[in-house]
């Protein structure tokens, strides 16, 4: 047996503070791809599992939750572990055997972390071929607390992702903003853009088959920068259901329910602050 890095690491397994094993690495990589709109991410590990956070412009935050039950083995020796890491590099490593899903070929993953200042070690195996990765971890920055709590939620919609995917895929990118109208009255839920060629609207009536739950108490119109929300399309594409909530400040929470290849459910959420720069356009 070769004294590869992996064997060496196995002998030192006792020194880790975080150890996670999963039979299918795609259960981790696919979820992380859904929040990969910036190069770095902050990883929070606790007994509940992993939360990976990506932020931009202090206005948008995406969180991917991979709960401990997804892993075949998940052991953590501290209450909370936090580190920053290059998400682009992490994803390249997780998909080292290829990005596409090849039927039959499964890459197993073992992740180890020995503590502050140590690299994140990944060991991946597919068909007898082993890959060892050691990724430098960085000092974590403070992540934003959007302070989004359910008591302040004004409007909430849960719908099937299908029809929303169409609307989001065709977002007019010449529009700076995406407007969300949510109301107990018609048109109930409307997405609007105001681009170079004109404005477009997509209406989703509350009694549509696509609606699973419609709880809107107040008519609210909020605008968000298209450029900030566009990355959420990746999460939407993977999801089967999405929850859309706005609070009394006009902050938006999008929560995506994503089923992995083994049928297990993971969540990705996006928080977005309303856009306050523009004046009301005439329309």
């Amino acid at each position: 047996m070769p004294m590869a890095l992996s064997t060496q690491e196995a002998a030192d397994d006792d020194q880790f503070v975080l150890l996670a094993k999963i039979d299918n690495a795609r259960s981790v990589s696919n979820i992380l791809k859904a929040i990969h709109f910036k190069e770095t991410a902050t990883v929070f590990a606790s007994a509940m599992g992993l939360k990976v956070t990506v932020e931009d412009a202090k206005c948008i935050q995406a969180n991917a939750f991979i709960q401990e039950g997804i892993f075949q083995e998940f052991t953590i020796k501290e209450e909370q572990i936090t580190f920053k890491i290059n998400l682009t590099v992490l994803l390249e490593c997780l998909t080292i055997f290829g990005s596409g899903a090849v039927s039959g070929a499964c890459t197993s993953l073992k992740m180890c972390y020995r503590g502050y200042g140590c690299p994140l070690i990944l060991m991946l195996e597919e068909d007898g071929v082993l890959t060892d990765c050691s990724i430098k971890t960085l000092e974590p920055d403070e992540v934003l607390d959007f302070n989004f709590c359910s008591t302040n939620v004004v409007n909430k919609i849960i719908m099937k992702s299908e029809c929303l995917k169409e609307a989001f895929n065709e977002l007019d990118m010449t529009s700076d903003i995406l407007e969300f109208l949510m109301s107990p009255d018609a048109p109930y839920f409307r997405l609007s853009t105001f681009g170079n060629a004109g404005s477009t609207t997509s209406d989703f009536p509350k009694d549509s088959d696509m609606m699973e739950s419609f709880q809107c108490s107040q008519t609210q119109t909020n605008r968000y920068k298209v450029s900030l929300l566009k990355p959420s399309v990746k999460a939407l594409a993977l999801s089967s259901r999405v929850s859309i909530r706005t609070d009394n400040r006009g902050f938006l929470s999008l929560q995506y329910m994503i089923k992995n290849e083994d049928g297990q459910v993971c969540f990705v959420e996006y928080y977005c602050a309303p856009d306050e720069d523009l004046d009301e356009p005439d329309h």
Binding site: V89, C93, I96, G98, G128, V129, L130, T131, D132, C133
Partner: protein, 244 residues
């Protein structure tokens, strides 16, 4: 000088095309050497560091049903031609469903390799496509530049793992670093790795074959001081690896 060959088996035609296509991706011009027993595609770059040498031998019996050649003279029964492999590829691409392919040395207004392709038709008459690929004849005095390169004494010889897996891994590694480290030992182990300040990644293949050296001796005899478990290493730029 004369040369005439005919490929009939479709798998031979496709195989031949694949080989020439691979060569064409690596270089713009090469030398085609025609001998009674084989065709050779040769590139010899006279560069001191980091140059590429290509020596591709195609035994004619593997590909051709009919093969006849007459070299520059009776004593030197060979032909050396310089051409752009891409032109060969373009011609061969039309032959992927051919009934037969003829490759000839011809003189149109200039020396050419002519590729004749007989394509299947629904009707009774045949459909032949003719490609003329201009070539230049390499004079005898330059033939020494295109001799079979000597394989230097190597530390390790190993058979590559599945190329598809290797390709996927190298594709990903090239996104992480410009240089790639290849290592192999006498125990059938082969490693591909990259290392930067940010990350180090190493992929490890096992149970590969270490072929015996050309003279029939066991690999260890080439470098008896080398521990069989020890790895021999080489650094390459990833850009070069991708084209292979």
């Amino acid at each position: 000088m004369r040369f005439r060959g005919k490929l009939v088996d479709i798998t031979c035609i496709q195989h031949f095309t694949r080989v020439v296509t691979t060569i064409s991706k690596l270089i713009k011009t090469c030398v085609l050497r025609i001998t009674p027993t084989a065709l050779y595609l040769i590139l010899s770059e006279k560069v001191v560091n980091g140059g590429v040498q290509i020596w591709c031998e195609l035994p004619q019996g593997h590909f051709f049903d009919e093969y006849a050649m007459e070299g520059v003279s009776a004593e030197e029964n060979e032909i050396y031609l310089e051409l752009a492999p891409e032109n060969l590829v373009k011609a061969l691409k039309t032959a992927q469903t051919a009934k037969w392919v003829k490759v000839k040395l011809t003189k149109k207004h200039a020396p050419c390799i002519t590729i004749e392709v007989d394509l299947p038709t629904l009707g009774a008459h045949s459909r032949v496509v003719v490609h003329d690929i201009p070539v230049s004849v390499v004079p005898r005095r330059l033939w020494t530049e295109y001799q079979e390169p000597e394989v230097p004494n190597f530390d390790v010889s190993i058979v590559m793992p599945q190329i598809k897996v290797l390709k996927n891994v190298i594709e990903k590694m090239k996104n992480l670093s410009n240089t790639l480290l290849l290592s192999a030992n006498h125990q059938g182990e082969f490693k591909v790795s990259v290392e930067t300040d940010m990350v180090s990644v190493s992929t490890h293949f096992q149970d590969l074959l270490n072929p015996a050296s050309g003279n029939g001796g066991a690999p260890q005899q080439l470098n008896p001081s080398m521990d069989p478990e020890e790895f021999a290493e080489i650094l390459l730029t990833t850009k070069w690896c991708i084209s292979i």
